[in-house]
Amino acid sequence: MSPPGATEPPALSEYRQREQSITLAPVGEQLGERDARGNTQELLTLNFGPHHPATHGVLRLLVTLQGEVVRDIKPIIGYVHTGIEKTAEDKAYWKVIPVVERMDYLSYYFNAMAFCGAVERLVEVEVPKRGQYLRVIHLELNRIASHLIWLGTSALDLGAVSIFLYCLRERELILDLFEMSSGARMHTRYFQVGGVIEDIPSGWERKVREFLKIMPERADEYGAILNSNEIVLQRLRGTCPLDAETLLALGVTGPLLRAAGNPWDLRKADPYSSYEDFKFKIPIGTVGDNYDRFAVRLAEIYESVHIIEQALDGLPEGPHITEDRKVALPPRHELATSMEALIHHFKLVTEGFRVPPGEVYNPIESPRGELGCYVRSDGSSKPARVHMRDPSFVNLQALGPMAKGSYIADMIATTAMLDPILGGIDR
């Protein structure tokens, strides 16, 4: 900061000039049109964000308005880009898990699952059945937690404050469960290559079942509050619909696509981690408007509860992580008695395991759509490239087509129903 009175050239820096010179889509043809009273209309370019409570993070939108109608939207992203993909190239495979978990910070188990699944394909290691079931239980708990945050913050955007508090109350129960099983509430590093780091503690199952009893009742309450709220219905019903073909062309997957009536769900279509063992329904919408997007996610909470119940009932006995000592750490008690275990432990902790050269793309169904992890190995113990195809990043492209021609208030509701997580978008 310069002291007062100092002479500074008022000229803008080259960076600021370039930032301001971002060109908008051609909207000039709408200028000069006369309305019924003979007045001309002017377009207004509004900068929305990056710090705005309704953007769900640091998302900046350049919105061109004609009166109250949105004519053009340009998302500008990158404000929380932290170079996680670059960081990952500098770490051994098992040390990459905590950094990729921090991409999409509401669905950390899914990021770990996509990455571990990709590495497991490269190493060709089999995850034991118990490990797969424990993964499913945690993934679905995480899906509920992610949907709860989405529901709470979206309701907040629509002016319903109390539902946010209710949703966070239930999410807290899930975080308590995560804390009990892994020691951390968020970014738990619970999934490892070859399984999960530890078996669940005694008493955890009982606590999960207690939660499963509560959750559907609470979800009923959310539905009762929101579905009978005139304001919520007015703002969601019939606003900003987009058909399934356009969504597919834009690469949109997940609840947004299902809301438009396309029942595409990787858990059913291309099951991974034993999802084929469970019976569940795929909620779909009909017209693909904001209400369908809301209803599909709310219905998914019940299905997740259903999956967790089945996984707990059928939880097989056995190891929770692969017995392959080249990939997974030996159990603690073996270190005192077995020289071989000590050597494996030392090698894994210092260098990590080496992965045969090759490249794989491993897609899973995250709460927001297809989360794909591309890993390229050059044969060393560090990945040569880790890339996340984050659903939020791709889905954000649909915001323009959805909200163009609608009122600005509907754009807020659409952004909320899009459920973008900026940590995942910017990585």
């Binding site: 900061m1 820096s13 370039r18 990158g78 394909r121 690469g251 949109v252 794909g372 591309y374 195809r389």
Partner: protein, 169 residues
């Protein structure tokens, strides 16, 4: 998934339609097929695959094959939702002329993803409607995901040194 034979048949069809040199190599690895194609044929090959059922472009990503030449790679992950079948199309370009034709006109989903590859690897997509940096600042120099791009060494901008770091605001 197409099995190894199915992949060869697909490659053969593409070679017949687009010329012998269109498909350089086929790899079948861990149950997934990859077609390595000549960069000039990218739009035509993707259109042929779309006609063969792979109608959803799941992901586009860049990769740096340093120290192997040609260094930069672009991968297109295609998905057939009817048969639940995936195939990867990849192409490689050299760092001195990293130009690929954009597929955004045919596949709108590639818009942001091509911008990301341009930003991170410096691959120029000809015909992209709005090829700007997407994650890094507009005035950033270099392409940080390249393997020879060093980590660290950049000044961190705080209020007290922003004038030195960014120039007059």
């Amino acid at each position: 998934m197409p099995d190894a034979t199915g992949l060869e048949l697909l490659a053969q069809e593409l070679r017949e339609a687009e010329g012998e040199d269109a498909v350089l190599e086929t790899t079948f690895f861990r149950g997934r097929g990859t077609l390595e194609i000549e960069p000039t044929h990218v739009r035509a090959v993707l259109e042929r695959l779309r006609a063969a059922g792979y109608a959803f472009l799941a992901s586009v990503h860049g990769v740096d094959y340093y120290p192997h030449e040609p260094r930069l790679g672009v991968h297109y992950e295609l998905l057939d939702m009817g048969r639940v079948d995936r195939i990867t199309v990849k192409l490689r370009v050299a760092t001195d002329a990293p130009e690929v034709e954009s597929v955004t006109a045919d596949w709108p989903t590639a818009d942001h993803q091509e911008r990301e590859i341009y930003d991170m690897f410096g691959v120029v997509f000809r015909g992209h409607p709005d090829l700007r940096r997407i994650l890094m600042p507009e005035d950033y120099e270099g392409h940080p995901q390249r393997r020879d791009f060093p980590v660290g060494g950049e000044p961190v901008v705080f209020t007290y040194n922003e004038r030195d770091a960014l120039g007059p605001m």
